[in-house]
């Protein structure tokens, strides 16, 4: 029994922070949103070098042989820095589903892969920036071509419908389900990271912004809202780690869904409160806050809506309504 991150996991988080910050931090997301994907692609290669895409891939398959907890730790940092690109697809969903040639390309960063999962994830993220597109069916995988891109509320995200081309590869339905759960876990961790960053930004601002001759952070009306964000994030975090431990077990589905619901709720609260604390400046394009506010809104509906995940828990725990 030890429900805490190891020193290695903390070092992994620090290593990611260093790489992303020296690549420019949120500037990467901003240039990506403007259509210049070069800094994002450079960061992608650096993170591949660190081993991000093979983090939870077995060593025999060329990966790092890490755990789903490692993956959650890494994706929290990606959310914290609002890193753009199809990381969930390449690092969490696809490595266990694609053939070994594609997998080794994903692992070394030369293949940028994205995917759609009809019924759950109807649009593929950043197909134009990806070298491979896949449609993941309940028991199959097919290469796909992408339709025209549509803008998302999150300006770093461009979404496309995919059309399967060529032959389907049959897959074990259990393997597909687990891959989707792993992607959902990564998305939950990203939400948590975005929520933590939103809280941090709001707290920093509340300490320096003065009104009526005082830092606005002295006022209880704001203190209590920020405290509620702290509470929501603090209790979403153990659900994410618990889900990572349960991934692939009989309790996996309900634990993953609980993590997605709780991290989504917490991040959404963080977004609203962070905006309220900042006031009008937070509503500007110029301010970074919007990167996380729009990212959170986009991820809330991605990898299963809150209703989808609550229903999935209900299906396991509750007798169906008569």
């Amino acid at each position: 029994m030890k429900f805490a991150l190891s020193e290695e996991q903390q070092s992994l988080a620090e290593a990611l922070d260093e790489i992303i910050e020296s690549a420019g931090g949120t500037k990467v997301a901003r240039t990506w949103a403007e259509g210049n994907t070069a800094p994002g692609a450079a960061l992608w290669s650096q993170l591949a070098e660190l081993g991000l895409f093979g983090l939870s891939v077995a060593e025999d398959d060329g990966g790092m042989g890490g755990t789903a907890v490692d993956l959650a730790v890494a994706f929290e940092r990606l959310g914290y820095h609002a890193v753009p690109g199809p990381y969930i697809e390449s690092a969490a969903l696809l490595p266990e589903l694609v053939d070994s040639a594609v997998r080794s390309g994903i692992l070394d960063g030369t293949v940028v892969a994205t995917a759609a999962v009809p019924g759950l994830v109807p649009y593929a993220l950043d197909a134009a920036a990806a070298s491979r597109c896949f449609v993941v069916g309940p028991d199959s995988l097919a290469q796909a071509s992408a339709g025209p891109g549509t803008a998302s509320v999150d300006r770093t995200r461009t979404l496309s419908e995919l059309t399967a081309v060529g032959q389907e590869t049959a897959l074990d339905p259990a393997a597909v389900e687990q891959a989707i759960d792993r992607a959902t876990l990564a998305c939950s961790a990203m939400l948590l990271g975005a929520g933590e960053r939103l809280l941090e930004e709001a707290v920093s601002y509340a300490k320096i912004r003065e009104q009526f001759g005082r830092a606005i952070g002295e006022y209880q009306a704001l203190k209590h809202q920020l405290a509620d964000v702290r509470i929501a994030l603090t209790f979403a975090r153990p659900l994410i780690y618990g889900a990572a431990l349960d991934l692939g077990s009989p309790d996996g589905a309900r634990s993953i869904s609980a993590a997605k619901v709780a991290s989504g709720d917490a991040a959404a609260l963080a977004a609203r409160v962070a905006l309220q604390v900042h006031g009008a400046i937070g509503y500007t394009e110029e301010h970074d806050l919007g990167l996380w506010i729009t990212r959170v809104r986009a991820l809330l509906g991605a990898w299963g809506t809150p209703r989808h995940h609550r229903s999935r828990i209900a299906a396991v725990l509750l007798t169906p309504a008569r």
């Binding site: 029994m1 429900f3 002295e218 203190k223 920020l226 659900l239 431990l245 609550r310 309504a321």
Partner: protein, 392 residues
Amino acid sequence: MNLELSDEQQAFAAEARAWLAANVPSAPLPSMDTEAGFAAHREWEAKLAEGRWSAVAWPEEFGGRSAGLVEWVLFEEEYYRSGAPTRVAQNGISLLAPILFEHGTDDQRNRYLSAMTDGSLIWAQAWSEPGAGSDLASIRSTARRDDERGGWLLSGQKTWSSRAVWADRGFGLFRSDPAAQRHRGLTYFLFPMDAPGLTVRPIAQLDGSTGFAELFFEDVFVPDSDVLGAPGDGWRVAMSTAGNERGLSLRAPGRFCAAADRLIDLWNTHQQEDPFAQDAVVDAWIKAEAYRLYTWGTVSTLQDGGDIGAEGSVNKVFWSELDIALHETALDLLGPAAELRGTPGMADGRWMDDYLFSISGPIYAGTNEIQRNIIAERLLGLPRGGDGRRVS
């Protein structure tokens, strides 16, 4: 990171489960805030002591099992799952005992700890005063030195004193240095509830029971041997209880997991087509699960030598709000029948009783507003003041 239990830990949980299955009364005891119910709960404490389950984490010499933190949480999970009675000895075991272990004398530990575990000494807390609620440091009840008899004379008034109507002894803070301000000059006293000069006036609660009382002190003598910690050091000594009450010890995760399980059972007999009703049941389960996992995180932190600190405030707001949401969901499912209480054969009457208790959660053990201030100032580092609070 793992949640795996050792063979010994699993065996411990199994032993607790078996003992509870064999010994928990089949019918619920009457409320402990009635005379008969208090006596029945006291008997249950004696029964627990026979099995050495009263305070599993305490050393054997005081009636415990020297169990680790993990075992303690496992026991609490089993305890709530079994539907065992509420602990009438809770004030003593959860609030006072940790302070006795940390600040008490050997003599105090020997006199009080074992007697706490077998129900022979039930303790009442005496923190609040009519003018000192959330602003606890504005305590005005006094302690005057009585050198002749070697002790102190307590005077003043305490209120919202839980378990005081039928308890044997009490503990609380009194101002021993009238010149000192706020947190300074307070002393922590232990006193018998039948002491000459102490009058206990029960306060009826909104649910009709008498869970707390007012205490009137008129020169109540307390010997030096019943001062806990150093005179004048009472605030620092007492704050270790506040942390315990808010954090781990009062609200073990088992309580919410067991309530969420009962809510799921209730849903299965009272399903509704409304997907929002179903979502509310699911959310209660998610939050109970979050609380369970969070507690294992806290256990890991403590085992690594860390402490709870202001995190206890995060915990307190979360469990008290979860408790209310969970019970409101149950009452919604019960519909018009929810208001019925104590009707023979109406097993669901318990949901209303527990709901009424749940809505006191955001008030006791430090209001949730105070907790949010603590979170904002000590965890987030926001500046103090700006709202009329005196800084000391």
